[in-house]
């Protein structure tokens, strides 16, 4: 089973997408092992949806290499499609269908793809139970609440027991309870069924909760790739050092992630330093700064990541 878990399910190399003269993706590279849960995090317009749609096979890329379950999505056939789950955000489709009716209809297509290892599709009633729609099974879709519809979207997306599932902003419009249920479902899929999951979100908190790994996309590039801890180190470019000396309170913001050198020098030069405080910008601070930058000036493009070197040591009384 070890070779199974180390297998690569998604492999993206130097993915580029250009609309006219605008580069939406400027060389994105990452991969996901089987059973891994990846969150693609980034502000609006960072290229998350474009990336996921290329992987789903719904969009043609400009350049780069992409492989999902060993197949180029641009050339994925129906047998490949049967192993992929796409969770769509329903709007008002199938209004007059009943919940169970639509799920059972969707299930029909997967039966011929059943193998000795993976029994397809999921039993309709079991899946309804898992997503918490048993009580609404006989309801028309138009009678469902937003949260219920989203849960049905998830059920339809995974009814064929896919090996890779794509979610684009899955929890938008969920209440906290539905959100937690969704997180449980994600864990169940990845832990018990070894399903690989790639989801986009702009909610850092959610990414930290669900994902084994977080990819931060900004301006068409991956600016960080790793666990939440690693991200905090990679992304947190500033640290604040505060101290008192000569009866005054001082603040210094270091440009690099590691403030040790500054502190060493400070201590050697001033012997009366007291109340020393070193504070790293939290992951949240950094991410918020990134989102804010993305929102305030998309045009600044290049070097958005490094312009965060603010404040050169100002004095505060």
């Amino acid at each position: 089973m070890t070779h199974e878990t180390s297998e690569i399910a998604i492999d993206v190399r130097d993915l580029r997408m250009r609309y006219g003269t605008k580069d939406v993706l400027a060389g994105v590279t990452f991969s996901a092992r089987r059973g891994e849960v990846l969150a693609l995090l980034g502000p609006n317009g960072a290229g998350k949806t474009t990336t996921i749609e290329i992987l789903e096979g719904f969009r043609t890329r400009s350049a780069g290499e992409v492989s999902v379950l060993g197949v180029d999505p641009a050339r994925g056939d129906e047998a490949w499609r049967a192993r992929i789950g796409v969770v769509l955000q329903s709007w008002r489709d199938h209004r007059y269908w009943r919940v169970r009716e639509l799920l059972a209809y969707s299930a029909c297509f997967y039966a011929p793809y059943s193998t000795a290892g993976v029994k397809r599709p999921w039993a309709v009633d079991e899946l309804l139970e898992i997503v918490g729609l048993t009580a609404s099974a006989g309801e028309k879709l138009l009678a469902l609440s937003g949260g219920q519809r989203r849960r049905l979207d998830v059920a339809i997306g995974i009814i064929g027991r896919p090996e890779v599932v794509f979610f684009d902003e899955p929890t938008a419009g969920f209440d906290p309870h539905a959100r937690r249920d969704f997180h449980d479902l994600i864990h169940r899929l990845s832990d018990f069924d070894n399903t690989t999951i790639l989801m986009t979100t702009h909610d850092l908190d959610e990414a930290e909760k669900i994902a084994d790994r977080i990819l931060v996309l900004d301006g068409g590039r991956i600016v960080a790739d790793g666990s939440a801890d690693r991200l905090a180190r990679d992304l947190a470019t500033t640290a604040e050092v505060r101290w008192s000396s000569g009866g005054q309170r001082h603040v210094h913001a270091t440009g690099t992630g590691d403030p040790s050198a500054f502190v060493r020098e400070l201590m050697m030069r001033h012997t009366d330093v007291t109340d020393l405080e070193v504070r790293r910008a939290s992951l949240e601070d950094t991410y918020m700064a990134l989102v804010q930058r993305a929102e305030s000036g998309r045009s600044s493009g290049e070097g958005t990541r490094h312009e965060a070197e603010v404040g050169k040591g100002r004095v505060q009384s």
Partner: protein, 288 residues
């Protein structure tokens, strides 16, 4: 994948399509929103027949209503096949139904089978409704085994020659708003198709225009099936022109089958979550 396995997956999709067609037919016949759309034309046709009572076909002794009822049946077949798919297709594209089909293995096949079954069944119900409610207003129709057989054949040929073209049209339309033009244009065409009055009283150029479209020909076929043979004198060339009918409908079928798969694929290719989100935003801001 082996040939048998490919056959299996397609068979599963076709079977799913039939269940889809049946479910959607049921919605069409039970949901008020759809039902009104089916009842209004039938009521309008009956009204037309009532107004025409006592009138004769120009230059003959034949009752006009006797000529109009079969023509209405022919028109209903073509209407269902030609103008039905475009609004349905754009609506399904805009609400995400097509995107779901695309995300499912052979989902488009299931979707198309479902649509064809649904249009065939609902058109059939309309035909029966018009025939049953019109029969007591109209004398002199021939309703024998020959008529039944010919009407069935006409229904199949009419559907085959118009549904693919209707699907091709629907794939070209950019929005629901645009696709509403298709039934509207069809309505004007029926005016020159010899449905409500014999085509022979029109100027010759309009007669030619009418004869380009299937409305005239399926109407003619229905008249051939249900009218007494002597009523042929009211037709162009005093003939039912059965061969010409099959040729014209055949040409429509060939054009439809040539255009539909490519256009449908092209339209489906453009479908994605973000395309759907854009449509949704458009509806939120513009309202159509």
């Amino acid at each position: 994948m082996t040939a048998t396995a490919t056959f299996d997956v397609r068979r599963a999709a076709v079977r799913a399509g039939f269940s889809r067609g049946w479910i959607e037919t049921r919605h069409n016949l039970t949901e008020t929103a759809f039902l009104i759309g089916h009842i209004i034309p039938v009521v309008a046709y009956i009204g037309v027949l009532l107004l025409m009572r006592g009138k004769t076909v120009a230059g003959t002794e034949f009752a006009l209503v006797t000529m109009v009822l079969p023509s209405l049946l022919g028109m209903t077949i073509v209407y269902g096949g030609l103008s039905g798919p475009a609004p349905a297709l754009t609506a399904d594209r805009e609400d995400g139904t097509l995107l779901r089909a695309k995300a499912t293995p052979h989902g488009m096949l299931g979707y198309l089978v479902g649509k064809i079954v649904m249009f065939a069944l609902t058109t059939l119900v309309s035909l029966v409704a018009i025939l049953v409610s019109g029969m007591w207003l109209v004398d002199g129709l021939v309703l024998d085994a020959r008529a039944g057989l010919l009407l069935t054949l006409l229904f199949v040929v009419g559907m085959v020659s118009t549904v693919p073209f209707g699907v091709a049209l629907g794939s070209l339309m950019k929005s629901s708003f645009q696709s509403m033009l298709v039934p509207l244009v069809c309505m004007f065409i029926t005016m020159a198709s010899g449905i409500f009055f014999p085509i022979t009283i029109l100027p010759v150029w309009l007669q030619w225009l009418g004869q380009v479209f299937p409305f005239y020909w399926v109407g003619l076929g229905a008249r051939c099936a249900m009218l007494p043979p002597e009523m042929v004198v009211a037709e162009i060339g005093q003939s039912w022109r059965t061969l010409e009918m099959f040729v014209v409908l055949g040409v429509w079928a060939v054009i439809g089958f040539a255009l539909a798969p490519g256009l449908l694929r092209r339209m489906a290719r453009g479908q994605s979550g973000s395309a759907l989100a854009r449509t949704r935003d458009r509806y939120m801001t513009k309202g159509y």
